[in-house]
C-alpha cells in the first residue's frame, strides 16, 4: 500500500515534469500549433460557404450539421499530431536518457499526452468560436457545448494513443504523418460529418454507419440541437474507455521495448 502510493506519487510528479517540458517546447516553437488552430477555421469557412447552399439550402441551415463535424475533424487532426511528435522525440538522443532514468515507466507517454490535451482544447475552441462568428447558435444552450467539447476531446485523446502507437512503430516521422493523414481523412469523410447519410449509395452508407466517428457526430448533434445525452453518447464514452484500456498498456509496452 505504502509502495503503491509512492509509485502513484512519483507517476504524477514525473508526468507533470514531462508535460511541462512538452509545453515549454511548444512555447519555444509555437508554429506547430498553427495548423491545429488554422485548419478548423479554414474548413469551417470553406465548407459552410461552399456547400451550405447545396446541402442544406443555406449557410445558416447547414451550420447545425456542420459544426459538430468540423469539431470532430479538428480534434482528429490534432490527435494525429501526437504520433509525429512522439516519433520526432524518439529520433532524438534524449529519449535514451529519459529511459535510463529512475522514473515511472508510464510517465513519458502520459506526459506527452497530457500536454497534447491542450492542443485538443485549442483545436476545439477554434472550431466552436469560428462557428459562432459565422452565425451558428447551439439550440440547446451553451452548457451542452461544454459537454460536447468535453466528450469530443476525450475521444480525440483516446485516439491520440492509437496515433502514438503508429508513431512508435513507424520508422520515420514523415511516414507517421502520411499514415495519420490518410486514417484521418477516411474516418472523417466516410462519416456523416458533412453530408446527409440518406443521399449515399448503399455500400458507402453501410461504411458510414459503422464508422465510430459517425456515432460521435450523431451524439454531438443530438446534444447540441436537442439537449439530451443519447445512447450514441454512451456508446462513444464506452468505446473511448475500451480503447484506452487496450491501447495504454499496449503503447506503454511498445515504448519501453524500444531501443
Amino acid at each position: 500500500m505504502q509502495n503503491l502510493r509512492k509509485h502513484l506519487w512519483r507517476l504524477l510528479a514525473n508526468t507533470r515534469t514531462l508535460a511541462y517540458r512538452n509545453l515549454l517546447k511548444t512555447w519555444h516553437n509555437p508554429d506547430q500549433l498553427l495548423d491545429v488552430v488554422v485548419q478548423p477555421v479554414l474548413f469551417m469557412l470553406m465548407f459552410s460557404y461552399l456547400f451550405g447552399g447545396a446541402i442544406a439550402g443555406s449557410v445558416h441551415n447547414y451550420l447545425p450539421t456542420l459544426v459538430p463535424g468540423i469539431l470532430m475533424q479538428a480534434l482528429l487532426a490534432a490527435a494525429t499530431g501526437s504520433g509525429s511528435l512522439i516519433n520526432e522525440d524518439l529520433q532524438q538522443g534524449v529519449f535514451q536518457r529519459i529511459k535510463a532514468l529512475p522514473i515511472s515507466r508510464l510517465a513519458p507517454l502520459l506526459g506527452q499526452l497530457v500536454a497534447d490535451s491542450l492542443r485538443l482544447l485549442l483545436a476545439a475552441t477554434a472550431a466552436i468560436v469560428t462557428g459562432y462568428l459565422i452565425g451558428w447558435r447551439p439550440a440547446a444552450g451553451f452548457q451542452w457545448v461544454i459537454i460536447v467539447v468535453g466528450l469530443d476531446i476525450f475521444l480525440g485523446w483516446t485516439l491520440s494513443w492509437i496515433f502514438v502507437l503508429y508513431g512508435l512503430l513507424a520508422k520515420r516521422a514523415t511516414m507517421v504523418e502520411s499514415m495519420s493523414l490518410m486514417t484521418m481523412l477516411i474516418l472523417i469523410f466516410l462519416s456523416n460529418a458533412f453530408v446527409p447519410v440518406h443521399t449515399l449509395p448503399p455500400l458507402v452508407r453501410f461504411l458510414v454507419k459503422i464508422n465510430p466517428v459517425s456515432y460521435v457526430i450523431t451524439a454531438s448533434r443530438t446534444m447540441l440541437n436537442h439537449g439530451y445525452w443519447s445512447t450514441s453518447a454512451w456508446v462513444v464514452l464506452l468505446a473511448g474507455i475500451v480503447v484506452l484500456l487496450l491501447f495504454i498498456p499496449l503503447t506503454v509496452f511498445v515504448y519501453n521495448r524500444k531501443d
Binding site: L24, H28, Q96, A100
Partner: protein, 316 residues
C-alpha cells in the same frame, strides 16, 4: 560480491538475430576505478554499455551494479548511475538551463534544489554565458559538456561515458580528461569506452579490449603492455652499406627476430643491458650509427597484436 565491487558482469551475451554483438563477456570493476572498454568500430562497446544501463535486455548473462541485478531491480539500478551516451542526449528544443532543470526535476529534486544544482553545473562546465540560448547555437563541445553535466546532476556513484572524447579537439579532450579525473577523485566509479589507446592508457586502471563482441584481453595498461613483446630497440646506421652487417650483429646478440627497413633496424629487447653489448660490438666492427632509440610498447601495439587476425601475423 563484496562492497568494494561497483560493477560485476558475468558471461554477458547479446545476440541480434544470429549475430552475437557481445559474446560471453565477464569483468569486475572496483569502486573508485576508471575502467576502459577499448575496441574498434562495431566491437560491441555501446551494446555492452546499453546492457549495463538497463537500456537493452541481455540475451544471457548477468549484470550487477553495487550488488543490484540490472534485470531484476532496474529501478534501483537506474538511481545509481549517470549515463552519457555516444550521441548527445540533450533536448534540442530547450536551452542548457532548461535541460538541467528538466532532468533535475525528473530525478526528484525540488524546484529550488534543481535551480541551485543547475547553476552549479553551468558554472562547473563553463556554460553560464550561453545557459539561456537555444541549443542550435551550441558547438559540439558545448553540447558534450551539457550532456555530461546532465548525467552528473545527482552525483551518481557510477558514471558511464560512451566515447566521451570522440570528435573533440585536443584541448577540449584534455579538459574532458581532467573532468573525469576529478570525478574519480570525488569518489565516483567510471566506465568509459574509447577507440583511442592513449586515452585508455592515460586514464584507466583497468582496460578491457573488445573485438567482434569478445573480450580479448583484460588488465592494467602496464600488464597489457608486458604481454605484448615488451620493449623494442631501434637502430639507424649512418652508412646504408653497413646495414646488413649491423642486422646480423644485433640478431646474434639479442637472439630475437630482427627487421630491417633501409637504414633502420628493429628488434625486441627483453634485457636493457644487452644494449651495451650491442654498442660495444658495433664499435669493434667499425659500424657507425646515426641514432639509437628504445621504444616502450604502446597500447597500440597491444591492441594490434590482440585484435589483428591471427593469420596476418608476420612470419618469424
Amino acid at each position: 560480491m563484496n562492497s568494494e565491487t561497483a560493477v560485476q558482469v558475468v558471461n554477458l551475451t547479446k545476440k541480434f538475430g544470429d549475430h552475437a554483438a557481445v559474446n560471453e563477456v565477464s569483468f569486475t570493476i572496483k569502486r573508485g576505478e576508471i575502467f576502459a572498454l577499448l575496441g574498434p568500430n562495431g566491437a560491441g562497446k555501446t551494446t555492452i554499455i546499453k546492457m549495463l544501463t538497463t537500456l537493452l535486455k541481455p540475451t544471457s548473462g548477468t549484470v550487477r551494479l553495487c550488488g543490484y541485478d540490472v534485470q531484476k531491480e532496474p529501478d534501483r539500478v537506474r538511481a545509481l548511475f549517470g549515463l552519457t551516451g555516444q550521441t548527445a542526449a540533450v533536448d534540442e528544443a530547450l536551452s542548457a538551463r532548461e535541460n538541467l532543470l528538466f532532468f533535475a526535476r525528473l530525478l526528484g529534486l525540488s524546484t529550488q534544489a534543481a535551480r541551485t544544482r543547475a547553476v552549479e553545473l553551468l558554472q562547473e562546465f563553463s556554460l553560464e554565458a550561453v545557459a539561456d540560448q537555444p541549443l542550435e547555437t551550441y558547438s559540439g563541445g558545448m553540447r558534450r559538456r551539457l550532456d555530461l553535466a546532465i548525467s552528473l546532476i545527482t552525483r551518481p556513484a557510477i558514471i558511464f561515458l560512451d566515447e566521451p572524447t570522440t570528435g573533440l579537439d585536443p584541448r577540449t579532450r584534455q579538459q574532458m580528461w581532467e573532468t573525469i579525473r576529478k570525478l574519480v577523485a570525488a569518489g565516483a566509479t567510471i566506465i568509459l569506452t574509447t577507440q583511442y589507446l592513449e586515452e585508455a592508457d592515460a586514464l584507466a586502471q583497468q582496460v578491457a579490449i573488445i573485438d567482434h563482441g569478445k573480450l580479448v584481453s583484460l588488465g592494467t595498461p602496464a600488464a597489457l603492455k608486458r604481454k605484448v613483446n615488451k620493449r623494442k630497440l631501434l637502430l639507424t646506421v649512418a652508412n646504408p652499406t653497413q646495414a646488413n652487417a649491423a642486422r646480423r650483429l644485433v640478431k646474434a646478440v639479442l637472439k630475437e627476430p630482427v627487421q630491417r627497413t633501409g637504414k633502420q633496424i628493429m628488434a625486441s629487447l627483453s634485457d636493457v643491458n644487452d644494449v651495451a653489448t650491442v654498442l660495444n660490438q658495433l664499435k669493434n666492427e667499425g659500424i657507425i650509427i646515426a641514432n639509437l632509440e628504445i621504444k616502450q610498447a604502446s597500447l597500440d601495439d597491444v591492441f594490434f597484436a590482440m585484435t589483428a587476425d591471427k593469420t596476418s601475423k608476420e612470419g618469424k
